[in-house]
């Protein structure tokens, strides 16, 4: 049966987490689940289900479910298991068949860890330099760049480097 989509296009295609796990024996504990929106990354990203706790269905809304899972995101395994609850209703999940599971683990083992080094400081913008010179202030300073250190941020500061304040700065900073 060919599917014909009508209405607005969506990023989500797949099933909700309960639709997948509720039909599996032992609610799919130990199985691998991935999200279709993770397909945009080259590195493998998936969950290994550790425990499932269903919640009550409210009206006709997609059912939510509390899942504790081991998360592997862009080839990096999280240190602690994550809880999926608030996004579990999204019809975005896909079960990885048992015969493909080893393939995914192999992909994880073979993928190259992401690395990114960014300069630790940037030179003053031209107008700002002029203003500082006008005010007889020290205009030979460099502005320190602060990189956000989230769980998924892999960028590291290279303090020895100084970025130029020019379009070339952006060209040089392509993701590795």
């Amino acid at each position: 049966m060919s599917v014909k989509l009508i209405g607005r296009t969506t990023n989500l295609y797949g099933k909700t987490l309960w639709e997948i796990l509720g039909n599996l024996r032992t609610t799919g504990v130990g199985r691998l689940v991935t999200r279709n929106s993770y397909n945009r990354y080259e590195e493998p990203s998936f969950f290994k289900v550790l425990s499932v706790e269903p919640t009550a269905q409210i009206d006709d809304k997609p059912r939510k479910v509390i899942v504790h899972a081991e998360k592997i995101f862009r080839g990096k395994r999280y240190k602690e298991p994550v809880e999926i609850y608030s996004v579990s209703y999204k019809p975005d999940y896909r079960l990885i068949p048992k015969d493909e599971e080893q393939l995914w683990w192999d992909r994880l083992a073979n993928c190259k860890p992401r690395e990114k080094f960014v300069p630790g400081s940037i030179e003053l913008p031209p107008l700002m330099r002029l203003v500082l010179e006008r005010d007889n202030k020290d205009s030979n300073i460099k502005l320190p760049l602060k990189i956000r250190g989230g769980r998924d941020n892999i960028a590291q500061t290279d303090t020895t480097k100084t970025a130029l304040y020019s379009p070339s700065f952006f060209k040089n900073q392509q993701s590795s």
Binding site: G7, R8, T9, I122, P125, M128, K137, I141, L143, P144, L145, K146, I147, Y165, F169, F170, Q173, Q174, S175
Partner: protein, 221 residues
Amino acid sequence: MQNLCKFELQYSKLLCKTKPINQQPVRYTRKPRWLPKAPTKMFRVPVRPQISTEERNELFQLFTNYRTTMKSIQKQLEYELETSFTGQEVLQEIANKEEQLWAKCMDINDNWNAEVAVEREQRLANEREARREEILAQLIEKEEEKKKKLEAIEEIIRLEKEKSKSYITIDNIDEAIEKALDNVVDHKYAIDLAGNIIKGNSPHEPTTETSTNQMRVQTIN
């Protein structure tokens, strides 16, 4: 709608202490957000922009770098703003300004004090003059009173001196005794049932003034 817009502007003016660099008030020049979709646009499906992966990555990088840079610039500006309040020179300048203000205030105060002092001197002088005149008037009055009193005393003394001529002294005591013995005054009198006053030692002789005395006794009773 325009009123709403105005309120928005006023509130934004009221709320922000320091005016941000980029101030963009939300203006409801279009259809309000809470109105439903127009009937003509009900079934319109907006076409998604087709962006290639490379371009998206490039844009992502650009925006990431832009945000990071802007953050650092903002931080630098904040630092400069902070030092503009707490820097050594700035503090010195503020202190100087305060000193000047203090001097100005003191100047005004001194001027005022001088003005008030002149006024006070004038007032005090006037008061002193008034007081002196008052005292002078009182002195004169007292003097006059004293004079009057003395005159009264003089009068009394004069009268007494006049009286003293008839005084009984050692010189004329015999004369006075003689006179008294010659003219014996008898104040005793008897009264009968009819109210007649009988003077003298002979009670059977009623006096001439019996009827009048009787009348008087009756009126008294």
